[in-house]
Amino acid sequence: MSQATVDTAPLKRQKRNRVLLQLTCIAVSLFMLIPIYLISLAALSSRESLNAFPLSLLPTSFSFETLNAFLGSTGVFGALGNSLIVGVGTLLLSALIGVPAGYALARFAFPGKEPYQLFLLFARALPIVVLSVPLARLFLTVDIYDTTYAVILLHTALALPTTILISASVFLGVPHDVEEAARVFGCSPFGAFMRVVMPMALPGIAAASIFTFVMSWNEVLGASILTLDHRTLPAQVLTSLADSPLAYRFAGGFALVIPSIIFIAFMRRYLTNMWGSTIR
């Protein structure tokens, strides 16, 4: 330790850089977390403490009053149910249509593969507004306007390209050899798929499904254009935005934020895999 002859300047500089790196990371994390902390604080404080002016920045008056009032107000509970129905419906329908297509994309060479992929990229880039307004009229003519089915169909259309691309990349990660081995030992193509490929692909497919659910849970515009009485939660919050007290809005924001954190916690290991492989 006492060899003073060694030049320690680069070491010191490196140490300082490490400290700086840690501090920057912590600062960015704080920027991400503080708003979530504050909305939770707002949603979990009593009504009179929300009316005070310098609002307390620490959890001093913890109560479920605001949140209960939000959940008890008309339409919110039903909207929560609708959101779940639409989310699960979208997840199932897009998996049902998208996973086979993803498998085909990963395993087979077929005529029209290139145009199909281009079509998927184009479909993925299609803005929601462009679909919602005409779909509202189409759904009116076939009499499913203002139902959860209408929203499920819209959300599936939006999620399908991504589901196909993600599941294709998941299946690409399953070695072809194991499937062939299963075939050699007498599995039917479907049996090989169900018993060998699917178990290996399942975690990735599950992550893709959560992703679909999140997209459906978050979608605001289409859901509020396609429904009147059967609103999903975001649509309900959006339409009652103008004539509701601040406490209601904060509770609404909190109710939308919390599930998202849980979703991300579930699929955090797949975040880069999914995006990383869909993008090329």
Binding site: F110, P111, E114, Q117, L160, P234, L238, I261, R268, G276
Partner: protein
């Protein structure tokens, strides 16, 4: 818009491939039908809604759209938001991805926290920041604790602060999308290149400019396209933060459809978004084209 099978390659396919064609068709078919019905048809229907009334072709709805006093402010706000937000967002995301690559302590935790907004809707983000920016919100409270007089951040006559509030909320929410794509891209780049450049004495900026960024180009291209198209669709943030005071194009579509009960003008506005989104994608694809690009994979 449907997928048409080019006839020529089918004949040239090997016997093995020809056998697998029917299976593939069965697997792909439902998705093609579904997307044609629910993506292709509405787009055509939308064009009809925007340009046709009972008499046939008309520009009536387009004129009404353009003459609406909110239209040009909405276009201006949307473009301004994108022009300011996208560069900042990409600088942040690349910076954050490089921070993570430098392997700080707890980098998994940091990445998780930075990815949380990925699953947030823009409505939720707007409400979150509303609790901070409203007149009696947390920002003004914090200022009051420090003895500074607050500002009406979201007041109608404060266009600049309103813009900054929307910008911050969108930066907070949507940077994580770019971050995740860039992180995924960085993972695909071997560290050897960077280290080689370092050995030859390249400075940090030189390595970033000449090694890392060029290799990241495909990821950045996709992130740019996705992010810009999504940014054109921003509206619930502004709706939650400012009501109608900060009009954006998609917000106008919503207003024409629900408030003014005019689906035709709403469809015309939606087509504006579609056209602009397509043009930007094409622009990005051309501007960032790779020299050795062979298809989509």
């Amino acid at each position: 818009m449907t997928v048409q099978a080019p006839p020529a390659p089918a004949k040239a396919a090997t016997p093995v491939r020809r056998r697998s064609v029917p299976a593939a068709v069965w697997l792909i078919g439902p998705s093609v039908v579904f997307m044609t019905l629910l993506l292709g048809w509405p787009v055509i229907e939308g064009v009809m809604q925007a340009f046709r009334n009972e008499q046939g072709f008309t520009l009536e709805f387009v004129t009404r759209m353009v003459q609406d006093p909110y239209f040009w402010p909405a276009v201006r706000n949307t473009l301004l938001l994108i022009a300011v937000m996208i560069p900042i967002q990409f600088a942040f995301a690349i910076g954050m991805a490089l921070l993570l690559r430098a392997n700080p302590r707890l980098n998994k935790v940091h990445f998780f926290i930075w990815a949380i907004p990925l699953a947030l809707s823009d409505l939720a983000a707007g409400l979150v920041w509303l609790s901070i920016f409203n007149d009696r919100g947390y920002l003004n409270s914090a200022l009051a604790w420090l003895g500074i007089e607050g500002v009406s951040w979201l007041a109608y006559d404060n266009q600049t602060t309103m813009f900054i509030c929307v910008l911050i909320a969108e930066l907070w929410r949507a940077t994580s999308l770019v971050l995740v794509i860039v992180v995924a891209g960085l993972q695909g780049i071997p560290k050897d290149y960077d280290e080689a450049a370092q050995v030859f004495g390249a400075s940090f900026w030189q390595r970033l400019r000449h090694v890392t960024l060029p290799l990241l180009k495909p990821s950045l291209q996709v992130a740019l396209i996705l992010r810009t198209i999504l940014a054109f669709q921003t509206f619930a943030v502004a709706q939650a933060l400012t009501g109608q005071n900060f009009p954006l194009v998609v917000g106008e579509t919503y207003r024409w459809y629900t408030g003014l009960q005019n689906p035709n003008v709403a469809a015309a506005l939606a087509l504006v978004i579609l056209a602009v989104s397509m043009l930007t994608s094409i622009f990005y694809l051309r501007a960032l084209r790779e020299k050795t690009q062979g298809g989509t994979r």
